[in-house]
């Protein structure tokens, strides 16, 4: 099977352009179409669109982590000047529908639904510190904040469940959700290859005396998305609909969930998504939009703003689920991993949100990534409720955590065996043709540049030379190099519905309006969508005008920005709808130029051309006539929806160079090189942007970032941008991002995905480099100064 970087198949779009120059728009460093709007301040984000005349809503939050609200005393609060209304969880007539908040397509068959419907707008059962027990509306924020402080609440308190062990002790506390008596949302065991390898059990294989073996306990933190725009929405009623303007990754899903939560027809809700100041998964969740819509409706459709403070964003939206991983591995003397096992325990907090999907997704990558020589692999994914803050999706959806686990193991093995970490990883990395047997649809590695990624990264960082130079360092300050691989699926195709819609409309001047459900949230989606559309249609990219704002009254359905899916999945839709659109244009050309009936026509550079490339009619002339033709007036338009269940693997490798100051317990990252195989790159500059940002987030997970809760109260201690440490300009070194451009046969343009993979490997690469520098093994991310100190002390270095 000649799958390695196969030559591009004869491209139905542009057969004459086979080879390196086959694309005219795709693969080019097209300037971001939103850049000028953003540097001039013209780009409007949600708050920028807020009508002056609005009310302000603030969530009434519990000051305990677990219990039940018994009563409210609202008298003083209601007497505060400027207070309009207070609604509480003890009010009569609240909607009772329990909805699920994660941004996944709806599943019509109740039996098939994976997301847990465990929320209402507000509930007297308090499940986490700051839980929603009411909502207060005032004329301004000062009045609202004053009144909030005057609300008195009487509670019945329950013991606070923080750990898995506490969650499993029925005598310790009542279940967090009555429907889930054991607090376990799901517990899945996936075992492959044991029988085929000739063993009766995984235990037997892992402890086969002919192999080396080891066991490991890894932990990953509650990392927060920390997008710079807050989470906010405002709602008002217009034309019989509740209009919700919100900073979200998933506008169509927000509409559906508002409809469900308010028990009103979904069409009665209109969601508008303006420019979004980052989401990173936090806004792949329906947050406070239903509450905002409900309170707007209760107040007769008046405009109500619900803007969270930065502290609320940290404490009361989403984060990565904290996880514990228990790993085992065995390997032989020839650098082959023989078998691995990993049991992961994920703490989703008071509500499920994305729940089990995250840790399960992560452990998939644990299996794929080092499947190269492996005989068998076992993963267990378990997600439980606790009284911690609700966690949810964050960029790369469980894979950074599972990769931390996988890489700690690989890093230790290479170190202990005296093997070169790059050679060891290269030998055991996923191979071309790998097929995952657990996936409901074929999941095959159809393109694979991992070896080239490793080679290139190794060269760029100066791996071999630095390994030699740093080998015998002593003293308080030492240096190290380290690396990690990454493996990530291109979408959720094959597992969940992958659907996307597009509409293309021809303007009089021959330019095209492109309307999508795919959502720009800062990642550069609009730019690459325009490039793909231009490629398919044969027009210059500046002739494609994308509608950046999703408005559910106007935009076709799309699930939204998550799973790194949009370029891959919506790209397929653009290809298909573009083909229909082009056929309509060419059909109209034949109507205008009957001479070409029965002949092949194409579009190039905004001209209809014949088979020999000779110009027949410009799109501008054609379209102007089409709009106003007395016999066949036609605004040429095509729209459609496609669903896909193909998938493939994005791969890559990160290399870092660090300085470790042992007595001061600090790690300085001097250089980071990351090389990705994401198939063909649609826009090398915007792709590079994605890699840079992902690296910095992973660096944060490796060294700085974790939300910490007071174990007594469940209140977050560091929910602000001073105490929660995202990297600053001075913490991130110069970054090198490169691409190994394989051709993936499943992708619409030979491309795979890129949105999330960049934030996976830097943290474990830093861990590997610290081990290289000091010989000390760290298993808990982030490697804070406190943990470094403890590790160095335990190792006798201090």
């Amino acid at each position: 099977m000649a799958l390695i970087n196969p030559a591009p198949p004869a491209d139905s779009l542009a057969p004459e352009r086979a080879g390196a120059a086959r694309f005219t728009q795709v693969g080019k460093p097209v300037t971001r179409i939103d850049a000028v709007d953003k540097v001039t301040g013209r780009a409007k984000f949600t708050y920028d669109l807020l009508p002056t005349d609005h009310l302000v809503a603030k969530v009434v939050r519990s000051t305990i982590a677990s219990g039940r609200v018994l009563s409210f005393d609202l008298d003083e609060a209601l007497a505060e000047p400027g207070v309009v209304a207070i609604f509480t969880c003890l009010d009569e007539g609240l909607p009772t529908y329990q909805f699920a908040s994660p941004g996944h397509p709806w599943v019509v068959d109740p039996e098939e639904r994976g997301d847990i419907e465990d929320r209402t707008l507000m509930d007297s059962r308090v499940r986490q510190y700051g839980d929603t027990i009411g909502v207060l509306v005032a004329e301004d924020t000062v009045a609202a904040e004053r009144a909030l402080r005057k609300i008195k609440v009487e509670y019945e308190e329950y013991p606070v469940v923080f750990t898995y062990e506490q969650s499993q002790d029925p005598d310790y506390a009542p279940p967090i959700h009555e429907e889930c008596p054991n607090n376990v949302q799901a517990d899945w065991l996936t075992e492959v290859g044991v029988e085929e390898a000739g063993y009766s059990s995984m235990e037997e294989l892992l402890h086969d005396p002919q192999y080396h073996s080891g066991s490991y306990h890894m932990r990953t933190p509650r990392q927060q998305q920390a997008h710079i725009e807050l989470c906010l929405s405002f709602c008002y009623e217009e034309n019989g609909q509740i209009v919700c303007v919100t900073s979200t990754q998933i506008p169509h899903i927000v509409r559906r969930v508002i409809g469900q939560a308010l028990e009103i027809p979904w069409g009665d809700v209109r969601v508008i998504k303006p420019f979004v100041g980052g989401g990173f998964g936090n806004k792949q969740d329906v947050l406070y939009e239903p509450l905002n819509a409900w309170v707007c409706h209760k107040l007769g459709g008046r405009c109500v703003l619900l803007e969270l403070t930065r502290e609320e964003v940290f404490e009361q939206t989403r984060s990565r689920q904290p996880k514990d991983y228990y790993g085992e591995a065995c390997w032989d003397d020839d650098m082959n991993l023989v078998a691995r096992s990993c049991e992961g325990f994920s703490n989703s907090g008071g509500y499920a949100s994305h729940g089990q999907a995250i840790i399960a997704n992560g452990l998939g990558s644990f299996r794929f990534m080092y499947s190269g020589q492996e005989k068998a692999c076992r993963t267990r994914a378990l997600t439980f409720y606790s009284n911690q803050a609700t966690a949810g999706a964050m960029r790369a959806y469980g894979v950074p955590e599972a990769t931390w686990a996988a890489e700690c193991m690989v890093s230790d093995i290479a170190h202990d065996m005296g093997w070169d970490g790059a050679d060891f990883r290269a030998k055991n990395a996923i191979k071309l043709g790998y097929e995952d047997v657990t996936w409901p649809a074929p999941l095959i590695c159809q393109s694979n540049g991992i070896q080239e990624c490793i080679e290139r990264g190794r060269e760029l960082i100066g791996w071999d030379e630095k390994k030699r130079r740093y080998a015998n360092e002593t003293g308080p300050v030492r240096h190290g190099v380290g690396m990690s691989l990454l493996c990530y699926k291109c979408s959720v195709g094959g597992l969940e519905l992958e659907t996307a819609s597009a509409r293309m409309t021809l303007n009089q001047d021959g330019s095209v309006v492109l309307t999508l459900g795919a959502t720009e949230i800062g990642q550069g989606c609009d730019t690459v969508m325009c490039q793909m559309c231009a490629e398919v249609l044969g027009v210059p990219v500046e002739k494609v005008h994308i509608v950046s704002t999703q408005d559910t009254n106007i935009s076709p359905y799309g699930a939204g920005a998550y799973a790194s899916r949009q370029t891959y999945v919506t790209g397929m839709t653009i290809k298909q709808v573009g083909a229909e659109f082009k056929a309509k244009i060419l059909d109209y050309a034949r109507y205008l130029k009957p001479y070409y009936n029965g002949q092949d026509l194409d579009i190039a550079d905004s001209w209809v051309v014949d088979a020999a490339g000779r110009r027949v009619i410009s799109l501008e002339e054609l379209s102007t006539i089409a709009y106003y033709d007395r016999k066949r007036s036609d605004q040429i338009e095509a729209s459609g929806t496609t669903e896909e269940d193909v998938n493939s693997f994005c791969l890559g490798a990160c290399f870092v160079d660090v300085t470790v100051d042992i007595p001061m317990a600090t790690v300085t990252v001097n250089q980071i090189v990351q090389v990705h195989d994401s198939g063909q790159i649609i826009n090398p500059k915007t792709a590079e942007q994605q890699v840079h940002g992902g690296i910095a987030q992973s660096l944060g997970m490796g060294l700085y970032e974790e939300l910490i809760e007071d174990p007594a109260t469940g209140k977050t201690r560091n929910g602000n941008l001073l105490d929660y440490k995202i990297p600053t300009t001075m913490d991130v070194p110069d970054l090198t991002a490169e691409f190994v451009e394989t051709w993936d046969p499943t992708g619409p343009f030979g491309n795979k995905s890129l949105g999330e993979p960049p934030c996976i490997p830097c943290a474990p690469a830093i861990r590997d480099a610290v081990l290289d520098a000091t010989g000390v093994k760290f298993y808990e991310a982030p490697m804070t100064q406190q943990r470094l100190f403890e590790g160095f002390k335990a190792a006798g270095l201090l």
């Binding site: 690296i695 941008l721 300009t729 110069d734």
Partner: protein
């Protein structure tokens, strides 16, 4: 709380605007003057998204009471484009270097870079990182932002090598 009148210069024009004494300059610029580039990210001087120039100095407006702006000269990115629409050198560098992703932190960063350009100095990359260290960005890893600021400061203030030709372009 009482309303007062603020008189100051905003983006080159004299402005009089009524404000509530409880407001910070972020509120007044964004909500009353419609300068929506001034962004709220934290309200406590930690993110830099609300940075504007006050008398030429890059300042967080979330921690700056509007009352203090009396008589001052204030600049935001809305005021940077030339009358003919040409982007300012910093704006253009941010576009060309792909420094912009979600764009929420960008207006504030541009104003800090603007102050650097006007200093007449050139900067090493480490110095640029330090000068921009009052801005948090979650999208970019700062790489292209540092590139853009390096390019803009070299174009305007650098007189050597490749940058020299660019200097004439903007002069």
């Amino acid at each position: 709380m009482e309303m007062r009148i603020l008189s100051c210069t905003v983006n080159g024009k004299p402005v009089q605007v009524g404000y509530d004494v409880r407001e910070c300059l972020l509120d007044t610029l964004h909500d009353r003057l419609g300068l929506t580039s001034v962004k709220r990210g934290c309200e406590v001087g930690e993110c830099g998204a609300c940075t504007v120039l006050i008398d030429g100095v890059a300042t967080d407006t979330c921690l700056y009471l509007t009352a203090w702006a009396e008589g001052k000269t204030i600049e935001t990115v809305e005021g940077l484009q030339a009358p003919d629409g040409t982007l300012d050198v910093v704006q253009q560098a941010f576009v060309d270097e792909f420094a912009v992703q979600c764009g929420f932190c960008i207006p504030g960063l541009i104003m800090s870079a603007e102050e650097m350009v006007r200093s007449g100095k050139t900067f090493t990359r480490d110095e640029i990182r330090k000068c921009l260290s009052g801005h948090l960005c979650r999208c970019t890893g700062y790489q292209n932002i540092v590139n853009a600021v390096e390019k803009a400061t070299n174009l305007v203030n650098g007189m050597v090598g490749e940058e020299a030709s660019g200097t004439e372009e903007v002069a």
